[in-house]
Amino acid sequence: MRVELGELTWLDEHGELTLAELSEVSGLSEAELTELEDCGAIAPVDPAAATRTFHAQCIVVARTALRLRHDFELDDRGLTVALALIDRVRELESELRALQARLPRIG
């Protein structure tokens, strides 16, 4: 069976979702997402807005949180630390790739 894929969404800082939409898409409950927000793993676009919305890239964080919670049976504190460390590792990997790209291959 071959499926043609239609609408693609970039998971970046441009798309926005409400808390309910993020919950539906990520599989985390709104309470769990609020815990992630409290620990700084995700942040609303405008914290002062009456209806909080989140950048689409928060889907990636929330899904990672869901996987980690399920696969490692982590509690909230463990999850917060794991997310922060993974974020730091991703950041360092990205910096490393950027530095490697700048290094000449010949000479």
Binding site: L5, L11, A101
Partner: protein, 317 residues
């Protein structure tokens, strides 16, 4: 159906306690979890470990698994005839079923009814796939075909592993590490639940000339010593075609010459830059005539590339 030895996968005895199974799983999950591991084939290995743990941590599933008997890993076998009772159904066929699907079917069987006997909606499974794209596909956009072996659930909630082929048009501007979501293209929802989504992780294939960071490109630009000293114009490859680059006189090795907006396009407009990194290279073999010219240059030049050593050397002596 092929047998999998879940105890061997977790490295525990068949008599292992629940705590021993959990401990073995945690160690292996730490080693192979795709979010934290850089081991080769980590994702496939973790799936195997997780599948074993999901079955053995659940007393009901573990008892059902033990009832299957013991075979060699990969050996063909048939579950006992009365095994269907675990699913609460009769007439269930084990043909074309993977062992993991068999235990996943518990999920379906349980999903069919809540404690009150009411059917509750179950959201379809999200699928994840890696889309490997070339630099040219990142620059112009392009189609990729993905084959995914995924479980599909029938109306009773039983799983069958099917291979689904997805054809996705990757828009220009995709680059390494970006994620795309395709809503509703994951597994089918049950009892009115929404269909899952498909997530694509973009991986950019290495290019023989260009290195990529974000939407910027880096390219080594080898120059002969006299080109670096005197300056020159060189024809430079870019994703959009060749361009002439003016190299100014006195260009140093490792200097970055920037060509604005000659990198990869960005998803919402604009382009990255292309950087040519200068390398001053010398010929590995030179003719007698060339040697004579280099000697003449050495004798006539006042250039000292190690002038900054002088002070340090005078302290040392």
């Amino acid at each position: 159906m092929k047998y999998k030895d879940y105890y061997a996968i977790l490295g525990v005895e068949k008599s292992a306690t629940a705590d021993e199974i959990k401990s073995a799983y945690r160690k292996l999950a730490r080693k192979y979890h795709p979010d934290v591991s850089k081991e080769k084939n980590a994702e496939a290995k973790f799936k195997e470990v997780a599948e074993a743990y999901q079955t053995l941590k659940d007393p009901e599933k573990r008892a059902a698994y033990d009832q299957l008997g013991t075979y060699q890993p990969g050996q063909d076998f048939q579950p006992p005839p009365d095994w269907q009772r675990h699913f609460g159904e009769t007439g269930f066929s084990f043909e074309d079923l993977d062992l993991s699907d068999l235990f996943e079917a518990f999920r379906g069987a349980r999903a069919r009814g809540g404690p009150d006997g009411q059917e509750r909606p179950v959201r379809g499974q999200d699928y994840e796939a890696t889309a490997h794209i070339t630099l040219d596909q990142a620059y112009r956009g392009g189609e990729v075909e993905l084959g995914l072996a995924v479980p599909e659930y029938d109306e009773q909630g039983f799983a069958r592993r099917v291979t689904r082929s997805f054809k996705a048009r990757i828009p220009k501007g995709a680059t390494d590490g970006q994620r795309l979501r395709i809503p509703g293209k994951g597994g089918k929802g049950l009892n009115g639940g929404h269909d899952g989504d498909l997530y694509l992780d973009i991986v950019l294939e290495p290019h023989p000339l260009f290195r990529v960071t974000g939407h910027d490109l880096y390219l080594d630009l080898p120059l002969a010593p006299w080109e670096a000293v005197l300056g020159t114009s060189v024809e430079l490859p870019t994703p959009s075609g060749a361009v002439m680059l003016k190299v100014p006189p006195g260009t140093h090795a490792a200097q970055h010459l920037r060509l604005g907006k000659r990198g990869l396009p960005k998803p919402r407009g604009g382009e990255g830059d292309l950087y040519a990194i200068v390398q001053v290279v010398v010929p590995s073999a030179v003719s007698e005539t060339e040697k004579a010219l280099y000697r003449q240059l050495a004798e006539g030049s006042t250039f000292n590339p190690r002038a900054h050593f002088v002070q340090e050397l005078s302290h040392a002596s």
